[in-house]
Symmetry: C2
Subunit: 156 residues, 2 copies
């Protein structure tokens, strides 16, 4: 059974091509699609963070992995199922990032550290509430810390 | 422009109908769809939490709000844009919840506190990495704390 989804906004960003690291310092604009009223953003400015669900629209169907692979194709890390990593070549091609909300304009959000490229279609925006974050200590494997080492660093 | 998405799994849960509160103590099984190999879950058990993206499949098109409304239709709370709340009657009907991963079986995850009803189609599963959680203090309005008061409580 298939479902149809339609972008509610588009991301305007400096990066034109996917890159793995150095997302710190990036600012992006999320501009509402024509059919979506400005009132949909009402009250969002009272939240410090917004969760952005978007589509990795440049990933070709043939690149999608539904089994296991080395994260970033790095053989030093174990072979891991696609649902145990956050890479883009995944079934349904959906990305999810919590980013800092810098300000709201009429039909537009300005956010910091959204790891998506220019032209990315947005499927949903949700306010971040502390109650929906993990309520217990987060445990994760060592390879995932290594993978994230330079992710939020500033390019030097 | 429309995109097509296809469930990668289905949620098996006790609750048959949407309810607002008292999700503590709920356990659910997430069972992979036929076309998805078991290897897609490999390594996920090393993470304590999993982010589940799912579809509010019972929400009728006519119920979807794309502007502003009172959360839970409660007039005591301000009128808020649909993208400043997490309710289900939203464009694209996508839900996103971080839940505790209790254990993995071959083609199945058992999770705690997934706020979705029986039969819900799952669009994606992602491991929770501390690096993708907010890296600054989360700020949110008072109405959202009030709304969440009984959400993770146990029904008495």
């Amino acid at each position: 059974m298939n479902f149809s989804v339609e972008p509610i906004a588009t991301i305007h960003a400096l990066r034109q091509h996917p890159e793995d690291d150095f997302w710190s310092g990036e600012e992006a604009r999320i501009v509402l699609a024509d059919g979506i009223p400005a009132e949909s953003l009402q009250g969002l400015a009272e939240f410090s963070h917004v969760e952005v669900l978007y589509l990795f629209h440049q990933v070709a169907q043939a690149k999608i992995v539904s089994g296991a692979r080395h994260p970033r194709n790095n053989p030093n890390w174990p072979k891991i199922g696609i649902f145990a990593q956050r890479g883009k070549n995944r079934p349904n091609r959906i990305g999810s990032t919590i980013c800092r909300l810098l300000r709201c304009e009429e039909r537009c959000l300005i956010v910091a550290e959204l790891d998506a490229i220019d032209g990315t279609p947005v499927l949903d925006l949700k306010p971040v509430m502390a109650e929906f974050l993990p309520r217990e200590t987060v445990r994760q494997p060592q390879w995932s810390h290594e993978l994230m080492r330079d992710y939020w660093r500033r390019r030097s």
